[in-house]
Symmetry: C2
Subunit: 485 residues, 2 copies
Amino acid sequence: MEIAAETQKKAGFFAYGWDCLKSSKTKLVQVAKNAQKQGQDDPRKIIHSLKVGLALTLISMFYYFRPLYDSFGVSGMWAVLTVVVVFEFTVGATLSKSLNRGFATMVAGALGVGAQELASLFGEEGEPIVLGILVFLLATASTFSRFFPRIKARYDYGVLIFILTFSLVAVSGYRVNDIVELAHQRLSTILVGGATCIIIAIFVCPVWAGEDLHNMTVRNIEKLANFLEGFGGEYFKEPFDGESAVDSKDDKSFLQGYKSALNSKSSEESLANFASWEPCHGRFRFRHPWKQYLMIGAFTRQCAYHIEAISSYINSEIQVSAEFRMKIQEPCTKISSESGKALKALASAIKTMTDPSSADPHVASAKAAVKDLEIALNAASLDETDLLEIIPDATVASTLIEIVKCMEKVSETVHELSGLAHFKGVEPNVTPEKPQLLHRGTIKPIPDSDATDVVITIDEASSVSPENDKGPSKGKQDESHVNMC
Amino acid sequence: MEIAAETQKKAGFFAYGWDCLKSSKTKLVQVAKNAQKQGQDDPRKIIHSLKVGLALTLISMFYYFRPLYDSFGVSGMWAVLTVVVVFEFTVGATLSKSLNRGFATMVAGALGVGAQELASLFGEEGEPIVLGILVFLLATASTFSRFFPRIKARYDYGVLIFILTFSLVAVSGYRVNDIVELAHQRLSTILVGGATCIIIAIFVCPVWAGEDLHNMTVRNIEKLANFLEGFGGEYFKEPFDGESAVDSKDDKSFLQGYKSALNSKSSEESLANFASWEPCHGRFRFRHPWKQYLMIGAFTRQCAYHIEAISSYINSEIQVSAEFRMKIQEPCTKISSESGKALKALASAIKTMTDPSSADPHVASAKAAVKDLEIALNAASLDETDLLEIIPDATVASTLIEIVKCMEKVSETVHELSGLAHFKGVEPNVTPEKPQLLHRGTIKPIPDSDATDVVITIDEASSVSPENDKGPSKGKQDESHVNMC
């Protein structure tokens, strides 16, 4: 360091070069650290990169060696292209892209040949005009169809490849006489590329979108549970308690975890979409009710919004009434911790795919605590109290009641999921969408006194949409799903 | 209909066919209606589709006609491929993809030639092994780099094309001796394709990502404003007022609009990313502070979370204390409507890119109303009141106070934006990041008594992050942005 500083005075240029070297070394170290962190956070990222490298090397060698080259021709490069473009992180995404690409190429190829035949009827002068019009019409219509939400969600890539292949075949056909040969070559190379990707994606350390969605749902519910379990202690703690002030620095993470649930909608939706392309794997059947996870996610988010609202009252320095606080502290702490426990039990039921009724006692306790709170509030007299000082506590209490409602809805949707996905210990015939079955005596009597309450409200949950636009249609799709199962 | 029904009895097969025809006709009509709705919602979608059709037809014809075909060879199809893949809805996305594609092709092409030269040193037997190893290493490293958030956001497509081109060039080079010729051909066709897309995207009814982000921010703030302006009247209305019950059915939309702001994060981020690729256009300079819109969006979302929390109290059937309600109704309605007016003024200031200080009086009134509410609460005595009956109103009051805080933060970030983006009527030298300038006497005296308050707290806002992970880094980026401007 000192040497460098001295040199800087003597020879500016040399020093500049040295500085550059040093700074680029620092940058390199930073990039390496960053990479290490990425890899440690999720080792599957490293494995995925190796898988892509493997697939690409295999296909490149395939393309490189003379015998294969001769049979595949220049279109061998389509195999390389397919691997690079189609190989995605999850199996579902890879399958979705491969199948989209394969089908779109076939359909567009056939249409392209048809278009060319049609155009050739118009003579040598008319042909380019007709082809131009056809390409224009098809490209315009297909591009417009990509704005339709359903097509965008599932077939966006397919439509893209459709436009591409149609244009290439329709226009290039004029040159290449043996178009069937070309189509066969291209299709077979795409098949080889796609199949390589699919095989490596499925059989070498697979990453399933469905499992990711499943784990994400569990993790989000657990994070809310952590917040709620700790909230009571954190909110009602004595402000000048030195020990807990030190503690809080270490433990703050559980108070922040819920934030990742606030913006999970788009990633949940794309995972659910990819998951629907996946075959059965591990504990998941082919037609696992992935859409139900979106319902659970929507109610989890709603819960998170309420948590966001009360989180601002933690460590707030507003003066509160000690008398009022004393009255609500116990029921509020109980509501919060029992809701947390219920959510934890639900998360663990999803995780292990077992009957979620172990959450029911906690749901019942949380509801009982709400009753207790209401009784405490009824009994309270506030002759001496400044109203302003009870406002924060009253808001927290009221928001906790809302959180219990959301938590109940999460519980209902998890119960629905357990029926739809045949979780262990759940009577397979009883799907919560059909509560009338309860009267036909086909299921075991419900042991827990509050469980009936839960089952009845489930029907409500499937008709009430938690989010503005997509909720009702989701409900419908789920019903049809039930019928298919 | 009757004929069909009779036929069904006589000839099942014919009836089935008829039904199929009818149902597919219904489906077609539905698709057509859907398409019409899409087009009416945003006519730019139709125009975009026509633009893609135009670009593709131009390039196809370019590729079709003999003279061009001869000079471009088979690689003419790369031009078609480029158009299909690169042409996106917004100018920014198209530019981002074109530039990524162009640069990645160049760099990867050069590296590919280098790799081939290196491999050729190892003799005919060693060459494929060395090439295989190189392809494997590069593909693995590049794929891994796509997981880095920064690279993913801006250069994901470039890295993809880099892997593709490197593999193709490195492996195919063994066959094609005139590799420089090939590289030149491919680059020039990509340039032609990319340039066609960019020219059509920019000069034929352009859709700017930046403008979209700008309008989206305005729209979201307006929706919150609509909710808040109407909330007081809706929440405090008499429950059995027949007339307003009828009214509420027509007016419900303003109570739901805010929901679209809840999940706007990901679309805002991608628009901001694309906007940063765009040249100056309309009222926006090249280095318009797009990141600041993300800050505004984050606080808008936080406001929306609180609105989500109070929206459940509208039309709730919980018994409330009339005495207590009477006391808080006026200040609460005022807080809500003034916050709404302030947000509306801010939205309109962003929309017209003028000085947002017209919102300051409303911010001040809202804060004054909060003071009034606190005084009213202080003065209230609750001897006779059931505590349980005041809880909903107390929660609404307290949440409204939180909303005012969020609204102030929105106001601060909009003031920051007005400084950074040199809105009309804003002193250009005064960026809110540097409040110390206030003491140097370079700006006009602040007319509104509360404005000082706002300016001071702005500094706080840039260091406080509204969302957990990305907030602070955004703040930093904004600061560096200020220095560059």
